[in-house]
Amino acid sequence: MNYFKTLSGLALGLALSATTTLAGEIVVNSDQTDPAPKKAMEELVADFQKANPGITVKWNNFDHEGYKSAIRNFLTADAPDVAAWYAGNRMAPFVKAGLFEDVTDVWAANGLDDTLKSAAASMTMDGKKWGVPYTYYQWGIYYNKDVYKKAGVTEPKNWDEFVANCEKFKAAGVDCLTTGTKALWPAAGIFDYINMRTNGYEFHMDLTAGKVAWTDAKVKATFANWAKITPYITANAAAIDWQDAAALLSQGKAANYVMGNFAVATFKDGGMTNDNLGFMIFPEITAGIPRAEEAPTDTFHIPSGAKNKEDARKFLAYVASPEAQTKMNATLGQLPVNNKATAGDDPFIKAGFEELSSAYALAQFFDRDAPADMAKAGMEGFQEFMAKPENVDAILERLEKVRQKAYK
């Protein structure tokens, strides 16, 4: 009798485990609510299910801004099997809290160390890999060619020419550089570039890693270079969203915009075309410094509380494959991370591919390279600096105070 019970129990257990592996379901949480990312994700899910019959994907799509706070709740309370997030320091809190699964085995089994090489460093912490990158995009200066023509200005070769151009744009009644910093982060793009061009990639990384004081002379040099253009930046930048500033560029009220490639769709919605929308690499400031670029990377991770880690690993492996990345990024209008994948033939994608593949090093973006509290205080400081450049010393002292607390 007892023997029979054990047997049936075993059988039941087997049957249960069999059903979970056969009719596998993975829950994927992500934040692709904009039209293009949403479509790319829908295609990815459909293709993955076709390639892996028996696995169904349950996809929860979150609002982009809401996701950033929601992830802290669902990782601890009700973990999905796969979650979208970002590379670099942005994933550090979750890795340190043990909420992300070590996926070094997925990298090893699929040869990702080779194919995803460019993003390997930003996915590595404590010598292990914590997720899989699937897309990145370039940053640079987007400009209105019509405005350039009207003001009689040509593309600047270095910072001095850029500043000289600003004078001419001012005379033509146009904002030389526009930005909308209500959500803070657009200000960080400008800072990152001026700092990387003034002091180089290594110094920028040391600064975001908290190894250098904000009151350092080199940081002051960065702000001195920035101060040369603050009079020519859109005056009310602090009150407007980045999309509002994009409209200023499309309408010809502004000439340049330091932005990520995702903004191209917004410029084109505003009536710009491949003919009058220009793209250039941020000009050189200190001559001879190797050129580093911003390329924020989007990633997928397996939460350590996931229920179906086996199938989640298959999903990650699929996302990392060249076919999946080629197709996904064609829809996204961004660059695949996998070096065996092919980039689209849109002129801005091509320019970005050129820019990033010839770059000396890639930064993730200020709010991904620096820890959260430093990032927040820093971006607020940048916003204030653009409105009130005369406060620079007070701002830097405040940031130094935050640094001493943030990296403890």
Binding site: A237, A239, D373, A387, K405
Partner: protein, 299 residues
């Protein structure tokens, strides 16, 4: 034949019944209000990112708070909110007096004035953001017409807080107005009649006869306005996100930024801010409760 003594329930029914009725409410109050208050105080002595282990730091969070410029900005803004928000009380009274007349269609006017209180604070915030917006907003256009220069209220740290408070006053005045309108309905007509015979008119009538009778309404209006000013959060979150460069922060928004927002991982620090805000609120609540008890004793 023996008479059995009445059961426990029979003997204590009168004293137990109120507690039974209160029990569900008190239980909720304890779970969702009282316990979290003590938890917050407890967390404020730790350094904690909300995910990892907690480290005991004693009063370090409070020491840091005293050294934080943002804290003083928030405190100052809370004070400005408190003072300016109280303008809603006299303004509400003025509107109520104005609307307290028998004219054809007065109900329509009353509902129009009450309208801002009905719509969500988020909508109020958006309406005012667009009103203030540089380039296409109405207010910058008006200012530009008179001065020739546009002013972007929410981009300027000198005006942003006042801009947000103005948006907040709109629904708050409506609320005070409703309180006063009900109060005006209960005015004793005989007293007004008698005062009129004694030649009281206009302001002296208002000051000596009407306002004293509106005291309960004034009391409630001040209480809700003070509490509303101290917990102002939604308008700031919608209109300025605490900016430009953190100049419109108040304590409640500062706490949210530090503990719960996109870049906020300092739970202990956020809890310390919450405790300070709680202490400030406690001062006002104590004043109100003491006054209320004193009034009840006199009545």
């Amino acid at each position: 034949m023996t008479v059995s003594p009445p059961g426990f329930w029979k003997r204590h029914q009168r004293s137990l019944a109120p507690w039974l009725f209160l029990a569900p409410g008190m239980l909720m109050f304890v779970i969702y209000v009282v316990i979290p208050i003590f938890q917050s105080i407890w967390i404020s002595f730790y350094q904690w990112d909300g995910l990892g282990p907690k480290t005991w730091v004693g009063t370090q969070n409070y020491v840091d708070l005293l050294d934080d410029d943002s804290f003083y900005t928030s405190l100052k803004n809370n004070f400005i909110w408190l003072v300016l928000y109280l303008l809603a009380v006299p303004a509400g009274l003025a509107v109520a007096l104005f609307l307290n007349q028998a004219v054809a269609g007065i109900r329509i006017y009353k509902s129009l004035f009450f309208f801002p209180f009905v719509i969500s604070q988020v909508v109020v915030g958006l309406v005012f953001s667009w009103f203030y917006a540089p380039d296409f907003g109405l207010l910058p256009k008006i200012i530009a017409f008179f001065t020739g220069k546009e002013v972007a209220i929410l981009a300027d740290d000198r005006y942003a807080t006042y801009g947000v408070i103005a948006a907040g006053l709109w629904p708050q005045i409506a609320y005070c107005m409703i309180l006063y309108l009900t109060g005006l309905n209960n005015i004793n007509p005989e007293q007004v009649e008698a005062a009129r015979m004694d030649n009281a008119r206009g302001l002296s009538m208002l000051w000596h006869i009407i306002i004293p009778q509106l005291r309960p309404a004034t009391f409630i209006a001040i209480v809700v306005t003070v509490i509303g000013a101290l917990r102002s959060f939604d308008l700031i979150s919608i209109m300025t996100v605490g900016g430009p460069y953190g100049s419109t922060r108040v304590l409640s928004y500062f706490m949210y930024e530090q503990a719960l927002s996109e870049y906020g991982v300092a739970m202990g620090y956020g809890a310390a801010i919450a405790v300070v805000l709680f202490a400030i609120m406690l001062i006002f609540i104590t004043i109100f409760v003491v006054r209320m008890l004193a009034q009840e004793r006199n009545a």
